[in-house]
């Protein structure tokens, strides 16, 4: 069974650290292609019994922002399916995006939630003819950066650091929130239908952790089968 070749292949990894030889790299490449051929995936849905928050009433800059904005801190549909939850697969290292773009548009950060690898670059830009700022903060309250975006079209690149989650604020529009989840593990973000996928997962047992900006959920064990999606459901409170 081809799947068995994955296991000895995984054991090759520590040998690489002590000094890779060319054949060893070739073996790894072969094993990697084998692994993707037989890899499974995780497909899941995130739900909650929590209700969405009331819209934000805009009291200044209405010309650009509009009179009312959806409160996107908890986006949940009529069936309780929750958007913007980040599910990470503990122990499966994955190279997430090295660069992401945070767009300030109509006084919202778009996308609201993104995943990047540690020490990635965040490019922040604006489509609005009003001063926005992008302040990136850690849970500790430490500011990683705070840049002004006074004119539409400007793009400012800043390193995000190695630790997350990172919260984004706009100092001139206090309701604006964005999140950058910094991780070197495989991750998926739930869409408006609550669904997420993590592709190319070698078969085996894993722990799923879930992050959401306002809700919490317990970690969950999952066993991924070879060559097919493994369905999970996560509930947050």
């Amino acid at each position: 069974m081809a799947g068995q070749t994955v296991v000895p292949g995984m054991r090759e990894v520590p040998r690489l650290r002590t000094g890779p030889s060319v054949p060893a790299v070739l073996v790894m490449a072969l094993v990697a292609s084998n692994a993707s051929a037989q890899a499974g995936s995780i497909a899941g849905v995130v739900t909650t019994t929590a209700k969405g928050a009331a819209p934000v009433r805009v009291t200044f800059d209405q010309k650009v922002c509009g009179d009312e904005l959806p409160n996107e801190s908890t986006i949940v549909d009529a069936e309780g399916r929750l958007a913007n939850a980040v599910v990470t697969l503990t122990g499966l290292k994955r190279t997430a995006a090295a660069d992401i773009i945070v767009l300030n548009e109509k006084c919202r950060f778009t996308p609201r939630v993104q995943v990047v690898k540690p020490n990635a670059t965040v490019k922040t830009t604006s489509n609005d003819a009003v001063l926005h700022t992008t302040q990136a903060l850690l849970d500790s309250g430490r500011t990683i950066f705070n840049v002004a975006l006074p004119v539409p079209g400007i793009i400012i690149s800043k390193p995000i650091g190695a630790a997350g989650p990172v919260r984004l604020h706009c100092n001139t529009h206090p309701w604006m929130r964005g999140w950058v989840i910094v991780t070197d593990e495989a991750a998926g973000i739930s869409g408006a239908d609550g669904r997420f996928t993590i592709d190319n997962v070698p078969p085996g047992g894993y722990e799923l952790r879930v992050w959401h900006e306002t809700l919490k959920g317990a970690p969950q064990r999952v066993t991924v089968a070879a060559g097919k999606p493994t369905e999970v459901s996560l509930q947050l409170k």
């Binding site: 700022t133 840049v147 006074p150 400007i154 100092n171 001139t172 529009h173």
Partner: protein, 303 residues
């Protein structure tokens, strides 16, 4: 551009008072000349370019360096200075780093501890002076100094200083100090001046020491000159310099370093050594320095 970009937090009138505050740290009141006048343009430019943390202030002030040219940043600094509607405040560009022995010309709100450790055999080994300085009016300052030596306190110094002339790069002040001890009083009129020469600070002072009772103390002519520069634009910069110190015919050199100890530079320390150039048989070297606190300035950022 002020109204479009800055007024959301700092208010159209620069006061920082707005109906719907968007930041949690209250912005400085730029209409208050005691806030707007005393620091150099370079500090203001740094605050705009690097954001609050660049000068040890709140990170809620964003960095504009990727969005504005240095000329545009300088334009905003001029605009901010203009919120002080009162003419006559000396330019913060002449608020130079304090030398250890040369009296600076710019009036300050500072509290200092100034230790001096000498190796002369016939003088006090250690003198520590506490010095309180307080501005009044637009251009004036008074100070009270209390030196304490190994045998205790037996002197008090009281002084006033007035910035007579100042422009963007230079300043000249007149001062008058009276040192009263158990023996006699010494009257000390002086002139202090400072100027920028490129990146270098040049500061100088000449002073007469005129004792009320010439049997108890000698007349003296004291002159000090300082030449130094910052090693970076941050408030935490090291500043290196040297003074030449004259007291009648005695001459000495005082090489020194100064460093801002907090992000805002409101705490700073300086250390140097006064080394005699002439009459070296009678005089030894002396360690000098200060610990300085600008007590009206925030010494660290609020988040």
């Amino acid at each position: 551009m002020w109204d479009a970009w800055c007024a959301r937090c700092h208010a159209a009138d620069g006061s920082g008072r707005i109906a719907e505050p968007t930041v949690t740290v209250e912005p400085m009141d730029f209409t208050d000349c005691t806030v707007t006048s005393p620091e150099p343009d370079a500090d203001w430019e740094r605050a705009i370019a690097k954001g609050g943390p660049g000068v040890g202030l709140s990170p809620q002030m964003p960095a504009f360096e990727d969005a504005l040219t240095p000329e545009q940043v300088a334009g905003f600094v001029s605009h901010i200075r203009g919120f002080c509607k009162d003419a006559g405040w000396p330019s913060g560009n002449t608020n130079f780093p304090r030398p250890i022995l040369t009296e600076k010309a710019f009036p300050e709100n500072e509290f200092l501890i100034l230790p001096a450790i000498s190796h002369d055999r016939d003088k006090d080994d250690v003198v520590v002076k506490a010095l309180y300085e307080r501005r009044f009016g637009k251009r004036s300052m008074f100070e009270i100094g209390v030196p304490a030596a190994n045998h205790g306190v037996n002197e008090i110094e009281v002084a006033v200083k007035h910035a007579l002339l100042s422009n963007h790069t230079s300043i000249l002040s007149l001062g008058f100090e009276t040192a009263v001890s158990g023996d006699t009083a010494v009257f000390e009129p002086y002139v202090s001046a400072g100027a920028m020469l490129g990146d270098w600070y040049l500061q100088g002072q000449v002073k007469m020491e005129l004792p009320a009772d010439r049997a108890k103390a000698d007349r003296a002519f004291v002159y000090n000159a300082y030449f130094g520069r910052d090693t970076s634009a941050a408030p935490t910069t090291w500043t290196i310099g040297v003074e030449i110190n004259g007291d009648n015919r005695e001459l000495a050199l005082t090489p020194q370093v100064r460093k801002g100890l907090t992000g805002t530079g409101a705490l700073a320390a300086s250390v140097g050594a006064t080394i005699p150039i002439n009459q070296r048989q009678e005089r030894g070297a002396r360690w000098v320095g200060y610990l300085l606190w600008e007590y009206l300035e925030p010494w660290r950022a609020r988040q």
